[in-house]
Symmetry: C2
Subunit: 556 residues, 2 copies
Amino acid sequence: MLSHSETLQRATDACRTRQHWSAFAETPSSKLHGEQAPIDGQQAFERQLGKPFELDQPGETGRLGKEISPYTQQALGIDYPAVDVEVLCQAALKAMRQWQTVDPNKRALIGVEMLRALEAQLFENSHATMHTAGQSFMMGFVGSGANSLDRGLEALVYGHKAMTDLPATALWHKPFGAHTVALEKRYHFVPRGIALVICCASFPAWNAYPAIMANLVTGNPVVLKPHPGGILPMAISVRALREVLLRHNIDPNLITLAADTRDAPIAGQFLDRSDVGIVDFTGSQRFGSWLEQNVRNKRVYTETSGVNSVVIESTNDLDGMVDAIAHSLCLFSAQMCTSPQNIHLPRQGIASDQGHISAAEVAERIVARVEDRASNPAKAAAICGALQSDATLQMLAGLQKNAESAGKVLRASGPYEHPDYPQARTATPLIIEAADPGHEALLQEHFGPASFIITHDSAEAALASAAAAALQCGAIATHVYSSDRAFQDNAEQAFVAAGASTTFNLSGPMPLNYAAAYSDLHVTGLNPAGNACLTDLAFVCDRFRMVQARWPQGSR
Amino acid sequence: MLSHSETLQRATDACRTRQHWSAFAETPSSKLHGEQAPIDGQQAFERQLGKPFELDQPGETGRLGKEISPYTQQALGIDYPAVDVEVLCQAALKAMRQWQTVDPNKRALIGVEMLRALEAQLFENSHATMHTAGQSFMMGFVGSGANSLDRGLEALVYGHKAMTDLPATALWHKPFGAHTVALEKRYHFVPRGIALVICCASFPAWNAYPAIMANLVTGNPVVLKPHPGGILPMAISVRALREVLLRHNIDPNLITLAADTRDAPIAGQFLDRSDVGIVDFTGSQRFGSWLEQNVRNKRVYTETSGVNSVVIESTNDLDGMVDAIAHSLCLFSAQMCTSPQNIHLPRQGIASDQGHISAAEVAERIVARVEDRASNPAKAAAICGALQSDATLQMLAGLQKNAESAGKVLRASGPYEHPDYPQARTATPLIIEAADPGHEALLQEHFGPASFIITHDSAEAALASAAAAALQCGAIATHVYSSDRAFQDNAEQAFVAAGASTTFNLSGPMPLNYAAAYSDLHVTGLNPAGNACLTDLAFVCDRFRMVQARWPQGSR
């Protein structure tokens, strides 16, 4: 096991070179973790069911919590502290004042230790993620585990870099005429204030860990506001982080949990406060845009959603392409910000390594490869997981019912039979052939396993349509399949202009959705899919400000 | 002479160590510049008077310009292009697209060359600055010359650092099960769009040069909107910068001038446009705050103004302290964002190296040292310069007339006789003893040579009052005189909490106003004096965004 400072150094190197690295194990294998860890994790989760979640933080005014497992569709029966916002914020500010005195290098090392503490509770947290977000256990362990922890470490690296860009002190000599003035200077790094981190329900860790790390290393206390439907994974994380702080005799109120319910949302109370200096938001584009437009005098960082496109011009690997697209339509029932929705191709079909393929056949092949996964309960369970929310079922039903207005249903959605959880809220992919590439249904995100196959007069028109949608509606991950170099170059330019990151010709074991910490930039800030990028300097370096003091050398 | 890359490297080193360095000569001495350069510069300025200023830029719809020299109070008689905003912006966007293809390292070197071109026209520009801003020739040469150019180079360094934080491309390998996926990645740096740089009248270069450099190196075209009263220095700069671009076969519309008049302000037309992505503003707190609160979907960087304080608790160098304060009250007639306004001290007086000194005597000594400068026309001309605007005369008259409501006039303001320009708009410092430390006149900036001496029940109360004013009204430079270590520490904490940078016990040849590029942080962003700092990473790193493309290794 690397020391914390070695971990920080290796992560820093990876951010610089953009090469692959991970500080965390991507497998729950008991060969790595031992036989007991998986059992302990599961038991810890099960022991918590039906009981109050104890979190020794100030300002508890009652209890709340109404989480439903997407797998059992039963209430978890866990309650959490309801908080007095004033008391919680005062406690956070007190913790901030102590934390401000901790050297940035030490903060960063404590940050690494915090991530290790989150790693240590991954088995428990993966069950919690499964039974709130609907992720499969494996996705909970890898995607909400190692991959999210790496993104947290990446943000820690950037925050640390920004905090150490200046020396803490300097000695300055300058001649003024015949005299030389010598001044000592001290640079104070001042946090912006309380950081409210608002999480989404389906994949909270992936954005929460970077936001937590970015805020803590730059000196800001964090109030974590989980989605009402996904409190448990974040509560477990907050508990683990507070324990690390206590071990270092640091005020644990540097991170607290502010859970709420759908009926009584609490975020507005924080937004009204001047001591809240930062908002990190992951969730709907509507609320994200509202925050960007309306929250003044705070720094607002958003990751929302968009309409991700796949543009197919041609391929040298038809089977690989079809399989990769089909997999991505199934993966976690397309409840990821990187899931594709709109598949654009020329009406006349495409050239491929298997000869000319008609548009209809491309669609048929995608449907068939989806079917292969959806019709096999064990595969479906591993890949699709469950639906986080009933709203997704309603969205699917609505789209299916009105499909004739948009086009033709190529593949209907329906539940699959989960082998372990017969009550699981499941839905296999709905695939619609769009009649009109200009239909309004194509210009909105349908959160969940719904996709459109859209034909155009030409590949160029397909590309233009996808790029226009990215600029107008936002896009986080776009894909292009083309064996034509000129088309690839045009596509790269078009998506750069639309502010959408693009992957070309991806097939094989890496899912289309995969974005690697330390290497892949997630969200550009150039279209409505969000204003913040995981992780660039802009994500961290305005979370603190600097104030200077100077005096003649030796006079203090 | 250093090469451009050596200059960039030396400046980068200075930013890192925060030690003194300068790329530019701080003296107009003909020993350095030769006998001819000063003559040529003056003649170039004089030749321009009464003539159209030729700037070969697109969208000229007419001519405008109503500048008045503060020294002669005569119209300069120069007119400038009136611009068609649409045409100008389209030209800027076209230039941006070409500039985007230029490597960031090359951009940075061209940036250094641009600063050298500005240096080469410093003699001419110093006369222009003198006859628009009212600065003395020497301040025009040093403050609006070398000091401003160094701040520009500093911003260039930070922008270059942010633009080279990531490699342009990367090769990434990651095992997925038994397979290894190898991807090539390319990171595109995308500018935000047109940067509107709005300048102030009294010291335009000091903020314009950093904003220009920060924007250009990060890929954004600049439209410079000078103050209607101070067009000429910026027009000369824009002309020089466009010549550098032309030399490199780069579209000169990367920087253009959008002059206007008080009667027909033009900034709003740019603010309404979605292709304007950045606003850099220097000027009044009222307009700056309006921009911060109301301009959405653009990045807004402001430096406005505040109420700068001096807190006197005690001193080991009474004469030095008094002289430093008096000098700063006179320097450029206190028309600088770093000029002190409110001088706080305990009612019972202070301990000093000359024994106990009453509050009244501190005030008398400051007045006497001001008098020494104000009553000597040659000194006054060199130090005070002239008033940029008639509004400052009106402010002084108003304050003087209503002085009894705020306290007592210790020193009345009046014109001094400028030895070279009998018609110069001059005013020596007005000094008022405030009767009530809570008077509203103390909680606003009086732009120009007006200051208050304010006594409090204790030194602690003096400090608390100054810090509260900084937090409420903004402050850019605060000063503390104290030989007591505990008081110094309290003051440092109090001003850090108020977001105001502080200098302790400064006397001698360096004016209180002096802020050094590469070393001193100018504006904190923590109080109403502005949201941007010269220069930190936050000033540059959100002026561009990044978009990624990736593909299987070797497939393109």
